[in-house]
């Protein structure tokens, strides 16, 4: 399975600011995904990060709030813009393996917005 790292592992931010989260994979992968886990909740897909084209967002998530970059097949960033306390969550990236069906997750970024 791929080795996935995320930076930062955690951060505390002030409302109104933005944070960019990085996801690095040790091998080339076709598709990468970004998920959000709000406190005490399950995981929800934010978007699919497509290399060479715009990300595909799920219902309820918009590009202005969660811009995503995917410059190559091993790296992606998620920005949480104009943050509010409701954005306090764990943000996780994931990648597909074995023909895309099985997914593996990075260690997550724990974000607290004050």
């Amino acid at each position: 399975s791929a080795v996935i790292s995320q930076k930062p592992s955690r951060d505390i931010c002030q409302r109104g600011t933005s944070l960019t989260i990085q996801c690095q994979v040790d091998s080339q992968v076709t598709m990468m995904f970004w998920y959000r886990q709000q406190p005490g909740q399950s995981l929800t897909l934010i978007a699919t990060a497509n290399q060479g084209s715009e990300a595909t967002y799920e219902s309820g998530f918009v590009i202005d709030k969660f811009p995503i970059s995917r410059p190559n097949l091993t790296f992606s960033t998620l920005t949480v813009s104009n943050m509010s306390p409701e954005d306090s969550s764990i943000y996780l990236c994931s990648v597909g393996a074995g023909g895309m069906n099985e997914q593996f997750f990075g260690p997550g970024t724990r974000l607290t917005v004050l």
């Binding site: 399950s42 995981l43 897909l45 699919t48 799920e58 099985e102 997750f105 997550g108």
Partner: protein, 111 residues
């Protein structure tokens, strides 16, 4: 989209006990995975099991795709098994690879 339901929502065991966690899904699947989320928030892959039975040490899983459910068995539980267990499924319809997660089962194993 596909719906995923897990039961029970909470489970408390004494060390050494066995348990069964259930995952029901509403549609046929290309992917069915079980994860363990540790106290630090990391998701650990337990099984990739869209059908059939697999075993890994004290853990085993069975998916009956035709009846749309999967079971995770934990035998001789240990305190380190505590945490949240998630089932996630990817529906076979459409072209996206979206994993839909259940709400999880919070397992507490007491010494």
């Amino acid at each position: 989209g596909i719906q995923v339901e897990q039961s029970p929502p909470d489970l408390i065991l004494q060390e050494g006990a066995n348990s069964t966690l259930r995952c029901n899904f509403s549609d046929s699947v290309n992917n069915l995975q079980w994860f363990h989320q540790n106290p630090w928030g990391q998701l650990i892959n337990l099984f990739y099991i869209p059908s059939g039975t697999k075993q890994n040490g004290r853990l085993s899983a069975t998916t009956v795709a035709t009846e749309r459910y999967s079971l995770l068995y934990i035998s001789s539980s240990q305190t380190t098994d505590s945490g949240v267990y998630f089932c996630a499924a990817q529906g076979s319809g459409g072209s996206n690879y979206k994993l839909t997660f259940g709400k999880g089962t919070l397992l507490t194993v007491n010494p």
